[in-house]
Symmetry: C2
């Protein structure tokens, strides 16, 4: 009998009760045999390091309902919502998933229909680097980043040349994504990060025990940890070399070079760089591209790395013949091509917070059947 | 009446009693009105950061007998003994110095005569990157780095198209330069650094009080402080980009890239990189060229920066019309050309140990007349 699969595109930064709820609902509503998590790696879409490394996050996902966790390569995971969604949907379709579940504030929205507005605007060659989504839906009811992602998922799913997934928006419960007031059992990842970094205990009720344990045992990573490296990288850069960094356009490289001198922290630099033209997040992504030395060239997304699986996931990989698409070991050729930037990002991540993972995927044998 | 000048090429890393003795003897023996110190900046000839920044070292020199302190640009100061000496002698001659004094274990050696062997060997195109000097004098009595420097000074002085200086070797007293046993009033700079970094008190009797105070008040800088930055710089380097780093030849870039993985400290990396072919110091200089992003191109040594002067020194600058050669303020053009690498090196130095110097030279009014 055909194994039914449902994918979730996620960051789990960090994994919290809302994520566990999403995975549970996704399985319930689709009756899927397999839950596939398509996850960003050590750097996330907001243009910053993940609080916890990708291996620990993949392990937490497996402990909390996922069967397979595969990675979005870093240059895609840290790109705009549009490109992030593109990569996520591409991988989910390559994984032959039947459904794509995602959290939404407005699950009754017709995402396919809304996605057509993107299509039109793309054709009008909207400037790529502006905060595309927020501009796009400015003045509409669609202001939540989850819904904007949902629309992007719908868009790329419709574009896919592979068999398309059925979209499954799942009503988000509890705190609003941007609500900074942690409390109760559900809170957004950003409010949990804030609470954790403030060293208060409030976030603890909003995450599974295993997340608490990982946060206590691992050195969490934030942008501040990379301030000296970023300073150094800018110091050794010429305007010409900076101009080749991804998304460094419209002379922004000169702004970066001139603002460094008066900046004594990452936050100060970000404040000094901020203009109306660019959102905070898009500038942060530029800084990440400088730090990780990501240039305008990119490799085609032809593979994804398997981070974690249980035995059900292994059966699925075999049945669907995913061995060519999924890297279980990263070969020398992969390290030099499609996985090159991710490898470098992982090494730079580990300058701050080393880990012992990475030789092979996390494989568990406990199958929930 | 013509002002008589004597130059000393130095690093003062850190300034100790032996340096004070050398300056005192130099003045005594030459009867010079002016003592000019031609000093390396924030990075020194051994291919490492100076323990104390150049401004504090220039100030200490002024307090201990110098009248003028001028800087050897970083790409010359951190080069081989041959190039270091070339730059030092060029600057001293541009400064119209009458004498060049230097410490020597064998002051009776005929430095001019010995220097002719260099001339011959240079013409035989001896491989530039091997430890030139130690090879050259292998099997002779000339093994001390001061004497090797002295011979190089003699060589370049003879080559100079300007009026030549009279060489004045001054007998070094007390500890041998490589003697690690600090004690008494005279000790070598390297044994003082070791004693200071071991946190013992032995070095204290070998340095003036002012040096002790500076060491206590300033964050001393060592290679370990740059380990993370060096790791990062190598991580973001391709074999191709590394091959353009100065003195990175004969495929050594591949060795650097392959050895990084198994190295968890600067010392481990150095040990992993060491081969018979290269001396420790020459490898250390390669690492510094990586860190400071010094490439094979260089600007002609056309200027030197004035670090410190007393009023006698100012009179000398005026009388000898040195304003074009000496930078008192570094212009935008200088920062983009002849002072470019030094500026970057200063900024990288300050990532570890910031200072408030640098807007203008240190000028004191106390004249010893």
């Amino acid at each position: 009998m055909k194994m039914l699969a449902c994918a979730v595109i996620a960051e789990f930064n960090p994994f919290h009760n809302g994520h566990a709820y999403l995975l549970q609902k996704a399985r319930q509503k689709t009756g899927a045999d397999i839950l596939i998590v398509v996850m960003s790696g050590n750097f996330v879409q907001r243009g910053e390091p993940a609080l916890i490394n990708k291996w620990e996050r993949a392990r937490l996902a497996l402990m909390n309902g996922a069967d397979l966790v595969v990675e979005i390569p870093t240059e895609y995971a840290t790109d705009s919502a549009r490109e992030f969604a593109h990569a996520g949907v591409t991988i989910a379709n390559e994984m032959q998933s039947d459904y794509l579940a995602f959290g939404s504030e407005t699950p009754n929205l017709d995402f396919e229909k809304e996605s057509r507005i993107i299509d039109r605007l793309f054709n009008e060659q909207l400037s790529y680097n502006q905060n595309f989504a927020s501009q796009l839906f400015h003045g509409t009811d669609i202001v939540n980043s989850n819904d904007i992602l949902g629309i992007n998922y719908a868009y790329w799913n419709a574009q896919s040349s592979k068999s398309k997934m059925q979209l499954l928006p799942i009503q988000r419960i509890g705190a609003n994504h941007l609500d900074s007031n942690v409390g109760g059992d559900i809170a957004s990842a950003s409010s949990i990060r804030k609470s954790f970094l403030k060293n208060d205990q409030e976030y603890q009720s909003a995450v599974p025990t295993a997340t608490k344990e990982v946060l206590a045992a691992t050195k969490p990573v934030i942008w501040d940890d990379y301030w000296e490296l970023l300073e150094y990288k800018i110091l050794i850069s010429s305007p010409e070399s900076l101009s080749h960094v991804k998304n460094m356009n419209e002379g922004f490289e000169y702004r970066v070079l001139s603002m460094l001198d008066g900046s004594d922290s990452f936050l100060t630099l970000m404040k000094n760089l901020k203009t109306k033209r660019y959102t905070y997040t898009s500038i942060q992504r530029k800084m990440l591209n400088i730090l990780l030395d990501i240039h305008n060239e990119r490799f085609q997304l032809s593979k994804s790395r398997l981070l974690a699986t249980n035995s059900l996931g292994r059966r699925y990989i075999k049945e669907k013949k995913l061995k060519n698409f999924l890297m279980t070991k990263v070969s020398k050729v992969d390290f030099a091509t499609n996985y090159k930037i991710t490898k470098r990002a992982d090494e730079i991540y580990q300058l701050v917070s080393p880990y012992n993972w990475g030789k092979s995927p996390i494989i568990t044998d406990d199958v929930k059947e």
